[in-house]
Amino acid sequence: MARFDQTKLTLRILFENVTSAAGLLIVLGYVLIAIIDAVYPQLIGVVNAYAEVPDYTNPVPQPPSLQHLFGTTYPGIDLYQAVVAAIRVDLWYSFVIVLAGALVGILVGVVAAYYSGFFDEILMRITDIFLSIPYLPFAIAVGFVLGRGLDELSLALVIVWWPLYARYARGQALSIKENAYVEAARASGVGSWGIITKHIVPNVLTPVFVQISLDLGTVVQTFAALTFIGFASANPLLPELGKLISDGFPYAISAPWVVIFPGVTILIFAVAMNLLGDGLRDALDPRNRT
C-alpha cells in the first residue's frame, strides 16, 4: 500500500543520517525499557517496578559495584532499579502531556483557521493569554491549589503546552485551507466537519508530528524539573527521575553518582529526542524525498 511505502521511505532517509539514526535508536531503547519494565520487569533486573526498595540496614549511599550497577542512594535504594523504573514513569507522563496538549491545540487551531473571522480572533486571543503564562509559577500555583501530585502537575503542563500547538496548527491549517482540494471537497458536497477531519487535520498532522517529537525531549526535562522542586506522587516510593535527583541532592558532594545517573538519563533522552526530531523534519521534507 502506498502509505506504508511512505513510512518505509521516511525510515530509510532517517537511517542515512548518523545522528538521527542514533537518536531514533536511543529513543526506541528507552521505550523498550519502559515497556519491559511494565510487563516483565524481572527481565531487566527490576524487583519492584512501582516502588524504590529501601535497605535500611545499609542506608548510606554506596558507589557503583557489581551488586549495585549504579550504586545506591539514600536510604539504601538500588539506583539502577530505581532509574529503570523511573524511565517508565517519566516517559508515560511525558507522552500523555504532549499528546493531550497536541490534541487540544490542534483542535483549537484548526477550527479557528477554518472558521476564521471573529471566531478565529477570539480563539487566538485566548490562546495568547494561555501562551503568556510562565510554566513554573503557574505549576507552583496549581500545586498549591490542587495539590502536588503528578496528575495535577500533568494538568498544569498540558494547560501551558497546548497554545503552542494551537498556533502552529492554525498556521498550517490556514495554508492548507487555500488548496484546491479543499474547494473541490466543498464543491462535492462535503460538509465543514468532513473537510476539517478528512482534509485539514491529516495534512496538518505531518508537520505537527515533528513538533511533537521535539517537544517530548523538552517535556521530560520540565517534568523532571518540577518533580525536583517538589511535585510528587501519592505513592512516596514511586521512582521518578526528578525525585531521584532531589532525594539524592544532599549527598551530591560525597556521593555524586546519586545525582549523575538520573541526570544523565534525562539528558540522553532529551538529546536523542532532539536529534530524532531534527532528523524527522528533514526526512519529511518533500524535497528530500525524491
Binding site: A185, A187, P202
Partner: protein, 448 residues
C-alpha cells in the same frame, strides 16, 4: 451579479462588475480573459463557492419563469418568490445538497486539487460518500468504471497523487467531477498547466463526455485557441466586466470590441510565415481596487472616445503636456505638480498669476483639438469645454469633461453582443442585450 472580495475590511477589490451569464443545456460556454479579469471569481460565484455582493444566479429555471422574472420590479413579492425557488444564493441546506450534486468543478492546478494523503480511489469516491450514494457496495465498481472512462487503469486505484503525472491527475479530477453525474461542470483553466499533447488528450476527453452525457461546461481559460475549440458561446472579460459575448465563431471571426481585437491579434501563431499586424496594447491590466471609470478598458484602448470614462486625473497629465508645447509653461507646471483644484468628477480648475485673454483660451482649445489624436493624449477627447475667468490675482482656467457613459450591450448579429461606446445602443438596429435574439436555444436552465 456583483462579486467583491474584502481585504482587511476597508478596501474592496471590484472583482466582477454587473456580469450576466447564461448557460444552456448541453452547451459549452467559454469565459475568456487575462489574469485579474474576474473570470475565476465569476466561476466560483456560479457554483456558490463565493458569495456575491449583489445579484442572483438561477439554476434549472424554466424559460417561462425567467421571462416573467425579467418583467418584474426588483424586490417585488413575485420576484422574491421566484428567487426563493431558483436562486442558488437562497437555497436551503437540502436544495444546496442537490445543487452540489448537479454541479462540479475542475481546477487548473492538478497538483493541489487532489489531497496528497488520499488514494485515487478515495478521491473519486468522496463525492459519492458525501451524497450517500446507494447501494454502497457499488461505489467501488463505479469508481473503477469512471477511471477507466478517463483512461486510467486499475493500477491507479491505490496510488497517491504525487505518483501521477499532471495529465493523469487532471483525469482523476475529471473522474471525480463526473462521479455524481452532474449537469454543469465549471472548468477553471483545466489544461493550462499541461503540455500540448496532454492537453489535446484531455480536451478530446472533455468533448466526448459533453456529447455522450449531455453535460454543460463553463470553460474558463486565458488560452483563446483552446476556448475556440471547446465552446459554443464565448464571453470576453476585461478587468471584471464582460465586454463582448456571443456565438464563438461570430466573436472570433468578427470581433468588435477593441480589447477582443487586441487579444486575438496577440495570440502567437505557430506559423512563421504569417505577418500579422499585432496590436500592442500600452499599459498594464488595471488594479481592481480602484478600477478606471466608465469602460475599464479606456486607458489602453486604441479607439477610445471622449465619453469612455476619462477622469480629471487622466486628463490633467495630457493637458499639461499640451500646454507646455503650446506656450503656456506656467499652467503646464501647475497642472503637472497637481497645483489645481478638482471640483467634481467632470471638472477641474487651475490658476495662473498671469492674465489670459480670449484669444489665448482659443489657442489652448486649438492645441487640444490638434493633439488629441495621439493615443497618449486620448484623454483630451473628453474635454468638452474650456472657460477662463480673470480677476485681480490672475486667471483661472476651468476644464469640463464629458460625462462618462458606461457602455451597454448592443446586438451585432443573431448571437453577438458587444458593450462598447463605439457601438452605441440602438445604433446597429439589432436587438438589445438580455436576450439572445434570433434562434433561441432550448434553454431550460439559465443562470442569470
Amino acid at each position: 451579479m456583483k462579486g467583491e472580495k474584502v481585504i482587511g475590511g476597508t478596501r474592496y477589490v471590484h472583482a466582477v462588475d454587473e456580469a450576466q451569464l447564461t448557460i444552456g443545456e448541453n452547451e459549452v460556454v467559454g469565459l475568456v480573459g487575462e489574469s485579474g479579469c474576474g473570470k475565476t471569481t465569476l466561476g466560483r460565484l456560479v457554483l456558490r463557492l463565493m458569495e456575491p455582493s449583489k445579484g442572483t444566479a438561477f439554476f434549472l429555471i424554466p424559460r417561462s419563469s425567467i421571462d416573467r422574472y425579467r418583467t418584474l420590479t426588483a424586490g417585488s413579492k413575485e420576484a422574491r418568490t421566484i428567487e426563493r425557488e431558483y436562486s442558488i444564493y437562497r437555497f436551503d441546506r437540502r436544495k444546496m445538497k442537490e445543487f452540489r450534486k448537479d454541479t462540479q468543478i475542475v481546477f487548473q492546478d492538478p497538483f493541489s486539487s487532489l489531497d496528497p494523503h488520499m488514494t485515487i480511489r478515495a478521491i473519486v469516491a468522496e463525492p459519492m460518500k458525501a451524497h450517500h450514494y446507494r447501494p454502497k457496495d457499488e461505489i467501488d465498481s463505479k469508481v473503477s468504471k469512471l477511471l477507466e472512462e478517463c483512461g486510467l487503469g486499475e493500477q491507479f486505484l491505490e496510488k497517491l497523487p504525487h505518483e501521477l503525472s499532471g495529465g493523469q491527475r487532471q483525469r482523476v479530477a475529471i473522474a471525480r467531477a463526473l462521479a455524481m453525474s452532474p449537469r454543469l461542470i465549471v472548468l477553471d483553466e483545466p489544461t493550462s498547466a499541461l503540455d500540448v499533447s496532454v492537453q489535446a488528450q484531455i480536451l478530446n476527453l472533455l468533448k466526448r463526455f459533453k456529447s455522450e452525457r449531455g453535460l454543460s461546461f463553463l470553460f474558463i481559460s486565458h488560452h483563446l485557441a483552446v476556448v475556440r475549440q471547446m465552446s459554443d458561446e464565448v464571453y470576453v472579460m476585461y478587468a471584471g466586466q464582460i465586454v463582448e459575448k456571443g456565438e464563438t465563431e461570430a466573436v472570433f471571426n468578427s470581433p468588435a470590441h477593441p480589447y477582443t481585437i487586441a487579444l486575438l491579434s496577440a495570440i502567437p501563431v505557430p506559423d512563421p510565415t504569417t505577418k500579422r499586424e499585432k496590436i500592442l496594447l500600452k499599459g498594464e491590466i488595471p488594479d481592481l481596487v480602484r478600477p478606471p471609470g466608465g469602460c475599464r478598458f479606456h486607458p489602453r484602448c486604441p479607439s477610445a472616445l471622449g465619453n469612455c470614462g476619462w477622469s480629471p486625473d487622466e486628463a490633467i497629465g495630457s493637458l499639461s503636456d499640451v500646454l507646455a508645447s503650446s506656450g503656456f509653461p506656467g499652467l503646464s507646471e501647475a497642472l503637472k505638480s497637481r497645483d489645481c483644484r478638482i471640483i467634481d468628477d467632470q471638472t477641474f480648475e487651475v490658476h495662473t498669476s498671469e492674465s489670459l485673454d480670449a484669444s489665448q483660451v482659443e489657442s489652448i482649445k486649438r492645441a487640444v483639438a490638434a493633439k488629441k489624436d495621439n493615443q497618449s493624449n486620448f484623454a483630451l477627447r473628453a474635454v468638452e469645454d474650456i472657460t477662463s475667468q480673470s480677476d485681480t490675482t490672475g486667471a483661472t482656467i476651468r476644464v469640463r469633461l464629458t460625462v462618462p457613459l458606461v457602455p451597454e450591450f448592443t446586438g451585432l448579429g443573431t448571437r453577438h453582443f458587444v458593450a462598447c461606446n463605439l457601438f452605441p445602443r440602438g445604433s446597429t438596429g439589432q436587438g438589445e442585450s438580455n436576450e439572445f435574439g434570433g434562434v433561441e436555444p432550448p434553454v431550460r436552465d439559465g443562470q442569470h
